[in-house]
Symmetry: C2
Subunit: 425 residues, 2 copies
Amino acid sequence: MNSAILTIGDEILIGQVSNTNADYLCRKLFSLGIPVERVLSIPDNEEEILKEFDSAYNKYDVVVVTGGLGPTHDDITKTCIVNFFGTRLVLDRRVLSDVRALFKRRKIKMSASNMGQAMVPEIAIPLRNDRGTAPGLMVVKNNKVFCALPGVPHEMKRICERYLFPFLERKYRRLKSRKVIIQKTLHTIGISESLLFDTIGDVNRIIGNKNGTHVSLAFLPSNYETRLRLMVEAGSKEDAETEMRNSIKKLRSKAGRYIYSYDESLIQEVTGKLLKKKGLTLAVSESCTGGLIASKITDVPGSSEYFLDGVICYSNEAKMKLLGVRKSTLKKFGAVSKQTAVEMAEGIRRVSKADIGLSTTGIAGPSGAITDKPVGLIWIGFSDNRTSFAKKFIFTKDRLRNKEVMSKMALEILRRKLLGIDAEA
Amino acid sequence: MNSAILTIGDEILIGQVSNTNADYLCRKLFSLGIPVERVLSIPDNEEEILKEFDSAYNKYDVVVVTGGLGPTHDDITKTCIVNFFGTRLVLDRRVLSDVRALFKRRKIKMSASNMGQAMVPEIAIPLRNDRGTAPGLMVVKNNKVFCALPGVPHEMKRICERYLFPFLERKYRRLKSRKVIIQKTLHTIGISESLLFDTIGDVNRIIGNKNGTHVSLAFLPSNYETRLRLMVEAGSKEDAETEMRNSIKKLRSKAGRYIYSYDESLIQEVTGKLLKKKGLTLAVSESCTGGLIASKITDVPGSSEYFLDGVICYSNEAKMKLLGVRKSTLKKFGAVSKQTAVEMAEGIRRVSKADIGLSTTGIAGPSGAITDKPVGLIWIGFSDNRTSFAKKFIFTKDRLRNKEVMSKMALEILRRKLLGIDAEA
């Protein structure tokens, strides 16, 4: 059992669109036991598409094609399917009524170019799309599955989840005798890849191969975060899960304090859960992170239960007026200082009546350095009913990377505090 | 002249890491006149890597490999290079001193696994990496360029910009007699792909092929935004640029009011420039967007010149206390209403003394709908010294997509107001 993904479009090859569809399909097909062995991007050129249809369809059990199904003149995937399978276009009344309903719901006039979306290759099963005009097109032939999906990510995902994945699950269920592969990714932040590597010690002694199972550990670093990916291959689901639990236990005993997530949860989800569990509320005051901490926190559904308010105070005036930071503090130590960070955290806590106040003040970059205060410097402040402190970090010269890692680090400090791990060190 | 990208790593194929490196390389190589004709991802399996090295090295002028150069046990690209080119590893003193300097600068103890990073294939030119421990490895042989780069995106980019791209530029300069291809992407928001298509009319009459130039227009929709990508191929740079200007002029005359960016500028950059030019200041009060508008605004270097403060008020209390929204308004119309949005925009303007106040109040989802107020509903408020108004949108049921598109739409309303385009309609 294997699969290939073919993404069609100049936009990928000239770097205008990220191939997030491939990421998603890889993850999902892997977990369905149909691992992707090839991800290929080619331009929207008919001859080339037909050639690659042919080679993928011959070699893989499942071929998923994305892109080129839209209503405009540069969308040629449907034509290629017709030519490749030697079929013809027929009107599908159900697709037509879906397209009509979509426009009615959106209160938009239906354009002529959208009518054509209801013409589908006769050999294909149309997979309905309630979020856009292009249906998925699935051909099942010679015990192979060939499926073309629209390139718009949320439409593609919706069709996969409603139709394609359930279909594949049913079709290949009886083949579950093959090796079971499961994986888990553990997330850390604020520790370098090599220090984490050395902290964990001899990876092969800790995990490795035994009793017919194979365990591998990969270090995936990016932007001050290192993820640890564990992959276990075993003869049965039970064996794989047992070995996974053992491996995680061993990693936890070595580097547990650095691992904030064992299940792909984001740091804002992890801290959100902890706040909810402890019945605590949070407010944030942000300078250099400019609202990104609040935005991350509010990405989590239900965050209104523990997140009260946020204040973004770029100016000294705002720091004084909205948060009560003392003029003398700003004058003596500057806006980017331990003292200001602490007063900001205490201030937002007081103003919002939250249990915990978090703050950031720093130099996001790319310029703005002053004597002794380089670009990338940040003070992260924390205040609760027992303590107030601020912790210093120096990150990069890149503004967007700084905002991202500074926001995550602030949430990591909150996590460590909530768990009683020493966050001030 | 052509190129291929080979990304190595299980992490891509199982969907854990997005191939942002490929996006970047595609864009850059295209603009260097070395278009990418193939992007392929394969697992970090030595046999397979060697096979793909061989086929790519034989077929393409430039092969760029990313990933698998880190200090840990699962990084095997360097071994594959040694085997493929039949070379051996030698200590490179300059790389060693770079690695040592990096650890000294970060005040971190250098680990044993990092020492090995200074061993490089004898045939390769090491491309120095001042942001990480793995140098790039470039082999120039048989008039072909084979280059392996670390997978960490900012390290990879840095090495490309400092060494690889300047090298390719010099090496292939004399071949500039080939066809010149230039491209531009125009960005719109708040208009559907098909309506935009119909607004522009007969694309082939507007642009198309003439005088030996070829112009193509692609519609790239995603999440309520549609990008228009113009690609012009011509015999000379001058012809291409003239035709590009003509095509843009024609598109502008048809759909100019919807186009916020002609040069890849983000909506926050466009509005930032307009505010700066007009000497106006901005403050935002956010409910459903939870800080994302402020975060986008502060993504722009120098935004402190026009962005004063932001307030994220999730609770009714905060709306009243921090922004002066009237209790009677909240009671009569609810928090998600035209009236509340207007009072929030007026309130943040008053509190911060900014020229313009923007506000959002809505239901981000995935749940929280109430009678007559579905998930995805948002009121975006605007207030300046002449007018206050709020505009209603209904987006999706997906919280993160909603936050993203709601934030951009709020900035688009600001843009239209700043340009005197009717934003209230």
